[in-house]
Assembly symmetry: C2
Homo-oligomer: 232 residues x 2
DNA sequence: TACATTTGTTATGTAGTACATAAGTACTAT
DNA sequence: ATAGTACTTATGTACTACATAACAAATGTA
């Protein structure tokens, strides 16, 4: 067994520092006291005193919560619990160069899973206007044709539009922040392969076909990706 | 137009503090210099001097990156860039009591989307052993029967097992950290409704049926949830 | 020479003080 | 009563000091 196995199996023992502890305590405190967005928090000095640490440490912990959007601070008025944006924290660590290869593949699979599963939301919320716009994108692709950069841009536009049509804002933002990851993966491909079902085919299904047909169509559109997964 | 519209439309102008700026600068720095996991960072004092800020500010920024798992610090050895766990940062802000209602619904939809789309991965990776275990869970449910707490626990076990069977670790962890959210949503339900397709039905499809049948089965299993979405 | 122990150096971790700044609050004058 | 002023207070930033851990070098011993 190589050294790598040990590392990934055990992970490093990280000595908890005071800010770590204070961060956790603060989270617990906010929960226990069932703070709601808008409520005011005690001031830094009081917290430091209660916890028996320096103001410095408290500030580090607060800085973290602030970064996550859990609290906002204003001079003199003190701190207020806020409603964090769940995805912004996610975005911060999502860099294809930093995250590991297995995670990269996981994320790719999740995308495929989502797009095949999207059919129901799509048929629930799609509007004729949306479908028209999607068609325009698909047509544009056919016109501009093969060139690589255009192809990728259009690919993004098409699939992005589909996510947007679901009316699920979180999903949409999730997809948009995954784009760099896919861009990275596509750049690794040497020869771009085109699926059996084209974007225009998908649009036509959306116009006249059923949910099941769309799912099947999307599946075939993405099929070569799934084939690649099989061999991994 | 009510005050609420203004608030949600504009959002608060947040004055950027020095730690905010330093955090961003550090990220840029890491990217530009194309640091790889394991590489050593400059020491705090050097950073503070280069950036023209106090060590305090640098430490706050570093504390944030440390929380996200982007850097690890060890006494004397300095800091090294680490491979962040993309989901742990996510987990920190995922509290059903804090996140807004619309986001809650979005997440719920994402779960449904995922589970319907899972079929392909599932058929790609499932083993007879997995299917047996899943069957056991489904049988247990039938035996223990109706009691509420058991029912929920079993529901979690069943769907959790399915995620596990996909072999996608990220997906699995994602699901497990969403559990509190669903627990919260279920607790809001007054009368639990059972889908047309039971867990045992799904197991049988997994044994003898096709991917398409499974997708259809899962869809009907979750159908009452989709119905609820329609009326929102 | 090889190994164990001690000492020293250095970078991070924590505490504490000081002051700037912004945002309320109370008070005053027209 | 309103406008303007002075005061108060909590956060933001800087600086100093020292504890602690980890590595490095030097010293001592077999």
């Amino acid at each position: 067994m190589g050294n790598n196995d040990i590392k990934s199996g055990l992970g490093r023992i990280v000595q908890q520092t005071m800010p770590d502890i204070v961060e956790i305590r603060l989270r617990e405190y906010l929960k226990e006291q069932s703070f709601k967005p808008g409520d005011a928090l005690p001031k830094e000095m009081d917290l430091a005193e209660s916890l028996g640490v320096s103001r410095n440490v408290v500030r580090e912990a607060l800085s973290r919560l602030r970064m996550l959007g859990m609290v906002e601070t204003r001079k003199k008025r003190g701190m207020v619990l806020a409603r964090p944006d769940i995805l912004s924290s996610f975005e911060r660590v999502l860099d294809p160069l930093i995250i590991g290869e297995s995670t990269l593949r996981d994320i790719f699979e999740i995308r495929l899973t989502l797009e095949v599963g999207l059919a129901d939301l799509l048929y629930l919320r799609k509007t004729p206007k949306d479908v028209d716009e999607l068609e325009q994108i698909a047509i544009n692709q056919k016109v501009t044709g093969g060139r690589q950069t255009f192809r990728i841009k259009n690919e993004i536009a098409f699939h992005g539009k589909i996510y947007q049509m679901t009316g699920n804002e979180t999903l949409q933002r999730f997809q948009s922040m995954l784009l760099p990851v896919f861009g990275y993966l596509v750049s690794l491909e040497k020869v771009p392969i085109i699926g059996k079902v084209s974007h225009l085919d998908l649009v036509n299904i959306l116009k006249n076909g059923t949910k099941e047909e769309f799912r099947q169509g999307m599946l075939e559109h993405l099929e070569h990706h799934f084939r690649k997964l099989k061999s991994m």
